[in-house]
Symmetry: C2
């Protein structure tokens, strides 16, 4: 691949304390940027760059594992203090979760600095951080080809002005269904998507967890299911793996056609489905391209109707 296809990912790197129905896990390396980068690296070899911040307590081993996967972690700042920490408890069916504790720590003062060599990255994924910081990152970049962003209810409620400015400057917004409803004030997702796309992003992906994801891009809605797994261990990071897979695929192909974006949705969902098969990013760390290819083949069967949808005579 050529250097023109680099993907820059900016976002959180964290310790997660996870109370799962199958057990409690502490100090699990996580964060949106971690999941997204690991997912993307399965599709975009030696082209993923991460910008984030960790504290003095974050193990070098995790960053080394990212580097071993060809991820450039040179933009990960190590600051004085502790790493961002999230503690969540999942319901018995894993369908909902409660935040028990959030400690921003070094993330509270995070001001992303994009290394000069990475400012020409053509593909950019802005993880869920303050929209003013997402805008600041955009200001550091030189004519990216495709900018995607995530956000959350907190910013939708409290920072509508800077979020509105961000929306006008990105190509692709990747959020979940409740965020799409909250952002637009419209319950129906088709009309919510029309509203959001009018505010700027020409593409919107609405993630629905175990119910799949919808793409709205002006070429008609497109749907990709979540893969029906026999066992889901830990949903943490699935949405970020989805976003990383989506952008990693697009960067690797360097093709932004509607067909390419529709294929990217499958790789995104496949990476989300791999992510949830183990605690934290363990499955993504263990996965290789053969595993991903096998999952994609299963996905193809999941939706392959054989092509003949004519009415019977």
């Amino acid at each position: 691949m050529t250097t023109s296809n680099h993907l820059l990912i900016v976002g959180s790197i964290a310790f997660d304390d996870l109370d799962l129905p199958t057990g409690e896990h502490r100090d699990v390396a996580g964060g949106a940027a971690t999941y997204a980068a690991l997912a993307a690296s399965l599709l975009l070899r030696d082209g993923v760059r991460v910008v984030g911040v960790v504290g003095e307590d974050f193990p070098a081993g995790v960053l080394d594992a990212m580097k071993a996967r060809g991820i450039d972690a040179g933009g990960v700042e190590r600051a004085t203090g502790k790493t961002f920490r999230w503690h969540g408890r999942y319901s018995a069916d894993l369908a909902s979760r409660t935040t028990l504790d959030t400690q921003l720590n070094v993330f509270a003062d995070f001001r992303p600095q994009i290394p000069p060599s990475q400012r020409t990255s053509p593909f950019v994924l802005l993880g869920n951080i303050h929209p003013a910081l997402q805008l600041d990152v955009l200001g550091q970049l030189q004519r990216p080809k495709l900018v995607a962003a995530d956000t959350m209810n907190f910013w939708i409620e409290r920072e509508p002005a800077s979020l509105g400015e961000l929306l006008s400057r990105i190509d692709l917004l990747v959020i979940n269904d409740e965020e799409a409803r909250q952002l637009s004030g419209i319950h129906n997702l088709v009309r919510a998507a029309e509203d959001i796309r009018r505010r700027g992003p020409r593409m919107l992906v609405v993630k629905r967890g175990e119910f799949g994801a919808l793409l709205f891009d002006g070429a008609g809605p497109f749907f990709v299911p979540a893969y029906p797994l026999e066992e889901i261990v830990d949903p943490t990071g699935a949405g970020d793996s989805f976003a990383g897979g989506l952008m990693g695929y697009l960067a690797a192909r360097g093709d932004l056609s509607p067909g390419s974006i529709r294929c990217a949705m499958f790789f995104a969902s496949a990476l989300g489905s791999l992510c949830v098969e183990a605690v934290g990013p363990a499955r993504l760390l263990a996965a290789n391209r053969s595993h991903l290819a096998a999952r994609i083949a299963s996905f193809a069967k999941l939706v392959d109707h054989g092509g003949d949808l004519a009415l019977p005579t």
Copy 2:
């Protein structure tokens, strides 16, 4: 089409009182058999037969409308008394509903009698009635080619023995996700499906409302989305329209291959999506095959990824 492809539908015919967010509607002709037959008749011309019961108060016009669509309603018994009546209220987002009143009326003593000329029907859809009655219908039939059945939480709780016997004698069970979980006692749908298929039906369809439907048939799971509509007016009957569309397609094609069944899932979902666009069965009554073909074309776009799901190099 040949007479060998007839579809027999046995189930409820009802008056529904519908409290929708958009208004209250009274005496809406409905019932599982009504929705299923109307949906199937768009795919299987002059081949759908309905067996059910109505009271003296049920308007001839509704049965005439079915006949005008080529549905044989000769097996609909008119009994002394009032028609089965259901009163439900939907939540503002239409995602849930509460039963306010159920009056079984003539349905309480319903003992389906299959007209002798219909006992060789090769395709059979047993709507949600007492499993002992579903079994009784099967006893009246001569070697059907494909038997599908629906059921509900009430029978799962109270009639496990006769329901178990029914499961051992049908080919296809069409239920929703909560029913699949309740029937199997397993939350994970993949494992729930394995459990249910071990009890008899070689095929299981799990309906998930606005989140689509899953087919489990031993050839790997298959998923079809619900069509993302700009406006949903009334979800009543969508699941029955789905089941009717599924069986109508299979009867019309007379082909039970995995490919045919996967195509049938799209027609099923398309008919469910048409159903919810108006109050009661109004949209199904107004729809013709051109409307269905247009919806199927939109569906094809919704899932068409272009066929190339190779990993980018």
